[in-house]
Amino acid sequence: MSDWTAPTEDEKRVFNGDGDSNATIEVREVDVRLGGVAVLSGVSTSVESGSFVGLVGPNGAGKSTLLRTIAGVLSPSAGSVLIDGVDVHALSSREASKLVAVVPQDTSLSFAFDVRDVVAMGRTPYRGRVRTGDPVGRERVGWALSRTETDHLAERSIADVSGGERQRVVLARALAQDAPVLLLDEPTSSLDINHQLRTLELVSELVGEGKTVVAAIHDLNLAAHYCEEIVVLSGGTVLESGPPEHVLTEGVLEQAFDTRAVVTRHPVTGSTYVTALPDRPEPTRGHVHVIGGGGVASRLLYLLSGAGYEVTVGALNEGDSDLETARSLGLDAVAIEPFSAVDGGARRAVSRLIDRADVTVLADVEVGSGNLVNLDCARESRSLVVIEDRPFGERNYAGVEGRELYDSLRERARVAGEDELLSAVASALGSEREL
C-alpha cells in the first residue's frame, strides 16, 4: 500500500509521529455506499486542529459511517478525507493509525486479556515484527491508564470489568495510540450520568491539550455543553454545522429528528438546552382553553398538552413566559402587545376560542384591569375549571369589579388546586359531554 515516491512534508510529519501535531480534518464531498446503498452523499465538513466537534443526528443518519470513513476504515466512492493535508485513504493502516485513534461504539472484548494488555494493543502501530522491549510504549500505556482512571484495573481481566469501565479502557487504548485525532462513536451511550460527564470532561481536557476530537453523541445537551461545534447529519447529508447555539434550533431539530423540541438556555450552565417533546397525539380528548399570564399557566399548558388535549391560550402579552411556553409547545395563542390591555380584536379572538372550547381553565392568575377582559370572556364558557392555589384577594388588582367577576365565575366552576388539574378537567369534560 505504501507509496514508492519520496514522502511529502506532510507524510514526514506523520511518520515522525509527534503526537499532537496540527491535525485538521477536511472531509470533501464524500459519498459512501454500503452494500449498494448510499449512506453518505456529498458530505463536506472541516474540523480545526484542537477542537471538539459533536456529530448529532437520528439513528441511521450516517454518524458511525462518517467516523469510520474519517478513520480510513471505509473507503468513500467519491470525495476524500484529508487529515493534516494527507489523504487517509492513501495511507497504510499503520500510518493511518498513527494519525487517528478510534473508540468504537460496541467493544466486544469477551476474552480474558488483562486490561493492561488491551491498552497496550494501542501501541500496535509502533511495534516491530521482532519483539523488543518498548520503554516508551510502557510509559504511554501507564499514562493512558492513569488519565482514564483505569490504573487500578490494570491487572484485572477485561471480561470482569463493568461496561462503563470497559468503555474507559477502550478510551485508554485509543490514548496509548498517541494519535492527534481521536474519533469517538457514542462514547457515553453505555454509561451512567456520572461516567458520561467524567468521560466528556476528560475528552474536553484532551482537546485542551491539543487533540482534535470528533464524537458522535446521542445526547444533544451533552453535545451542546461540551462541543465547540456541532454537525447535524440527517439522511446521509450535513443538515447544518456550526456552534451549538446556531445549529441546535427547533427548526433544524424537527427536520433532522422529525420530532418537536424546545430549545432554551440551561438556567445553570448557560448552554443551549434541548427538551424533546412527545409527539402530539391526535387531539381527541377535547379542546381546553387556558387563561393564564405571568408564568402561572406554563405548567398547566405542559400537562394539558401532554395529556392529549387540544390546548389554546390567551390572551397574553408578548414577552409573557406563558406565551413562550405555549409557542414552544406549538399551541395556538392569542397574543397582544407588551404591557397593553386586551383590546377589542383580542377579545373577539378569545371569545371565539372559549366558545369553541369544551372546557376553559382559569389559572391562578393575577388579575388587573388589563386582563379583566379574559375573565369576562370566561363567563361564556361551556364548562369552567378555576385553579386556585392562592386566595384571590392576594392577586386581585382590579378592585371590586374583579372580585365580583371572579366570584361569579367561581360559583359555577370546579375549583381545584394545580395538582388536581387533570382530574378536574376530565370531570368537567365528562359532565359537559353529558349535558
Partner: protein, 367 residues
C-alpha cells in the same frame, strides 16, 4: 507486560519442553520389547550427531568458485548398548516418536491460530478443508497412482491436495480483495462436503487398496520413517516461526477486524499470511500422518485455560503441549495388544476430556 510475557512464555515453554522429552523417553522404552529409560537415553546419545568442526569448502558455480561453509558432525558418544536395542530405539521407535511430536506440534499450533483467526472455539486446523484436500490427494494416490501428476509420492500428493484446497477455498471466499471470515468458514464447509463425496467415490472404487485407504484416513503413524520427519519437520518449524512472529497481530485481530485496522494492522494481508501459513503447517502434518482429529481442537483450549488468550504465550505452549499429547496418545495406540490408528485414540481420549472442560470450565468463547 512485555517483560512479564516473555518470562512467562520462557518458563511455560521450558516446562513443556522438559515434559515432551520425558514423555518421548518413556515412550521410546515402551513396546513389545521394554527398554530401560537410561538405555534409551544412551542409545539416543549414541545416534546423536554433534557438531565438531566448522570448515569451508569450494563450490564451483560454472566459472566461479565460491567458498561454502561446512559443518562436520560426529557421533561422539559410544555407550554400551545392545545392537538390537540400538536398532529398536533409533531405527524403529524414534522416527515414529519424533514424527508424532512434529505432527502434534503442527496441529496444535495451527488449531490455536485458526481458533483465534475465526474467533470460533470449534475451529480446528482443517476448518478450511486442508485435511479433506490432503485426503483426496492421498486416496487418489493409493487408489490410482497413475492419475497423480508429476510422479508425486503419497506424502507429496497429500500435501499438494491440501494446499490447493486451502487456496481454492480462500479464492472462493474472496471478493474485491476482502475475505470475510464467515464466508471463508462456509466455503470451507461446502468444499469439505464436496471433497467428502469425492473420497467416498474413490473408496468405492478402491478395490484392493481399500484397507490402506481406510488406515490413512483414520490417522496413523505406524509407517513413520526418518524420511517423513525430514519432509515435514523443516516445513513445520519455518511456518511456526512465521506464525509466532504474527502472534501479537493475532491478539489484535481478536478485537475484530475493524478495530484491528484502526490499530494499524493490515488486516487482509495479515489474514492471508496467517491462513496460508496455518494451512501449510497443517498440510505438512496431515501429509505424513493422515487425519488425526482433536489434537488441534482440544490442546489449544486446554492451554488457553492454563496460560490465557495471549498468543505470544499461547502459541508456543500449545504447540509443545500438542507434541507431548500426540507422543503420549500414539504410545497408547501402539503399546496395546493390537495396534490401533492413533486417530482413534486421540478422539477417544480427546472427546470426553473436551466435554469435561465444557462442563466444568468455561470453554465457551475464545478464552
Amino acid at each position: 507486560m512485555y517483560g512479564e510475557v516473555r518470562v512467562r512464555t520462557s518458563l511455560w515453554s521450558a516446562g513443556l519442553a522438559v515434559l515432551l522429552v520425558f514423555v518421548a523417553l518413556v515412550s521410546t522404552g515402551l513396546g513389545p520389547v521394554t527398554i530401560d529409560p537410561h538405555v534409551v537415553a544412551m542409545a539416543v546419545l549414541n545416534a546423536l550427531p554433534v557438531p565438531t568442526a566448522v570448515g569451508a569448502t569450494r563450490v564451483d558455480l560454472g566459472p566461479l568458485a565460491v567458498p561454502w561453509p561446512t559443518l562436520t558432525t560426529e557421533r561422539v558418544f559410544a555407550f554400551e548398548v545392545a545392537d538390537s536395542h540400538q536398532t529398536i530405539v533409533t531405527g524403529i521407535r524414534l522416527p515414529r516418536i519424533v514424527l508424532a511430536a512434529t505432527v502434534g506440534f503442527a496441529l496444535a499450533a495451527a488449531g490455536t491460530v485458526m481458533q483465534g483467526f475465526f474467533r470460533n472455539p470449534m475451529a480446528d486446523p482443517s476448518i478450511i478443508g486442508v485435511s479433506s484436500g490432503a485426503a483426496v490427494g492421498a486416496v487418489a494416490f493409493l487408489v490410482a497412482p497413475t492419475v497423480v501428476p508429476f510422479g508425486l509420492g503419497l506424502q507429496l500428493s497429500a500435501f499438494v491436495g491440501a494446499t490447493v484446497t486451502a487456496f481454492a477455498v480462500y479464492m472462493i471466499a474472496t471478493e474485491d480483495g476482502r475475505t470475510p471470515v464467515a464466508t471463508l468458514l462456509l466455503a470451507g464447509i461446502a468444499i469439505q462436503t464436496f471433497l467428502g463425496a469425492v473420497i467416498s467415490f474413490l473408496q468405492i472404487n478402491a478395490g484392493e487398496s481399500l484397507e490402506q485407504v481406510v488406515y490413512w484416513l483414520m490417522g496413523h503413524l505406524h509407517t513413520s520413517t526418518w524420511a517423513d520427519v525430514r519432509l515435514s519437520l523443516p516445513v513445520v518449524l519455518v511456518s511456526f516461526a512465521l506464525l509466532y512472529a504474527y502472534a501479537e497481530d493475532l491478539n489484535v485481530l481478536l478485537l475484530g477486524e475493524e478495530d484491528a485496522r484502526t490499530l494499524g494492522i493490515e488486516v487482509e494481508w495479515t489474514k492471508r499470511i496467517l491462513l496460508a501459513t496455518a494451512s501449510i503447517v497443517t498440510a505438512a502434518a496431515v501429509a505424513v500422518s493422515g487425519v488425526i482429529g482433536f489434537v488441534g481442537l482440544i490442546v489449544p483450549h486446554m492451554m488457553r485455560l492454563l496460560v490465557g488468550p495471549d498468543h505470544r504465550i499461547l502459541l508456543p505452549t500449545s504447540a509443545l503441549a500438542g507434541a507431548a499429547f500426540l507422543v503420549a496418545t500414539d504410545t497408547v495406540a501402539r503399546v496395546g495388544p493390537a495396534e490401533v490408528p492413533v486417530g482413534i485414540v486421540t478422539a477417544a481420549l480427546g472427546a470426553p476430556f473436551f466435554l469435561y472442560l465444557l462442563r466444568t470450565r468455561e470453554v465457551h468463547a475464545v478464552g
